[in-house]
Symmetry: C2
């Protein structure tokens, strides 16, 4: 199933997408939901961020080629994470597909994409075994972990390097029933494929993160876990269009605007 | 005004506290709220975490005596933050007043309190000047930024060092109309005063954080900003009771339990 959050006029609702039609649903994907008789063409709605997470988790560095290439550019030795220590991102930065990534005036040119899989938690859980971890997943969507590299390196936290408003595109919708080991991520800049990788090449996979996190943290419905990106990442500039595609889910597409 | 979130039976509602009585309110403190005719004695309700923040901000190290003392214990030179770079905490870890802080089995004995002021944002804002910053504050509550020091130092992020379930007591309620420069924080362990400090001795104050954060981030109603603690912090052990008092707000009191 394909779940979205959408707006028509002033109304905001959850919906199920079948082919080119959205069926409005009362309640949400994590509550007791009921299909209504209201349907609208997908092309007529504004898609919103598909879920506003109670807690917004991010694996951070989690793919070898990304760690290696980013360390090489800084003239450093690559350091792989020894454990699945999860990080965080912030809700203020979320935008939906088609919404612009806005680069602040005082950012350097080093504002870069990071295309990645997003895991959406579906039920409350603690101390989850790896073998049961995928039972706690509601579905999957796509994220672009946009990063200003000088702020990421120079600030004490990732507050503006990663969490400047609009730096966290997520969408276009959530798809259920997928096996994360089958998924591939492709990042395109202005229509050109920049990098493509298999989700399962992660240093720590979805099962490992869910199991380790949940030894200390209760996971709640709607929490999201961004799985990290692989490969080199390149600068985004005014007028660019960045797309992250995961076949089986869809395409997260965002134009880039630099403030003047 | 004194705003709380509370539970009676299965009902969860917002309320206004006047003396020993809670008046139930429909809507919330950030919406259009209306007093109902339902009142209950304060002593009969279970107080809940007074707000579930969309984004949970924390100043982190923000007081000189705390930085100096913690660095001395580690045998390091104190390093004061050069800028008001905000950090984050996570909603899974929130508990209300009177709820236990649960220390996991595998934590060391270095699980410590950090009593601090919590700022609750009341209206949406971006690029806020310092002179207008307090206009965006709804009110103030109290937080205890419980920390496992070995995980805080050894993990790649603060995920379990700061965000283990129950490590973020917040409450007991939100008080409006206060001047943060007038407030003092006192931390008591088993009834004994451990440390007391003036909120205004912060390296960066409430106005400075709100102004700097909002240059890049939109602040939303219900967002919270924990201001950091001062002084030395001590270990919590099974059976302890830790209290953080801010006269003018109240007392946040939590028992401590170690898992067996």
């Amino acid at each position: 199933m394909k779940w979205c959050r959408f707006q028509t006029g002033q109304r905001v609702a959850h919906g199920l997408i079948e082919e080119d039609t959205v069926t409005e649903v009362t309640g949400g994907p994590f509550d007791s939901d009921t299909r209504t008789s209201t349907t609208v063409p997908l092309s007529s709605v504004k898609l919103l961020v598909p879920v506003i997470p109670p807690t917004f988790y991010a694996a951070g560095v989690n793919y070898r080629a990304h760690v290696t290439e980013m360390a090489r550019r800084r003239g450093e030795k690559p350091e792989f994470p020894p454990r699945a220590d999860v990080g965080y991102r912030a809700n203020n930065a979320l935008v939906a597909t088609d919404e612009p990534i806005v680069i602040p005036k005082d950012a350097t040119e080093q504002v870069q994409y990071e295309g990645e899989l997003v895991v959406v938690i579906g039920k409350r859980g603690k101390r989850i075994a790896e073998a049961e971890a995928l039972d706690y997943v509601f579905g999957y969507t796509i994220g672009n972990d946009v990063s200003e590299r000088t702020w990421q390196r120079g600030d004490r936290t990732f507050w503006r390097g990663k969490n400047t408003d609009t730096f966290k595109p997520m969408g276009p919708w959530i798809v259920t029933g997928l096996d994360p080991d089958d998924l591939r991520v492709t990042i395109r800049l202005n229509g050109k494929a920049m990098f493509s990788y298999a989700v399962k090449d992660a240093i720590f996979g979805v099962r490992q993160f869910i199991s380790r996190m949940s030894q200390y943290l209760t996971l709640y419905p709607g929490d999201v876990l961004w799985m990290g990106t692989d490969g080199a990442t390149e600068n985004l500039k005014d007028g660019d269009v960045v797309e992250v595609e995961i076949p089986g889910i869809g395409v997260l597409r965002n134009p880039v605007v630099r403030e003047r």
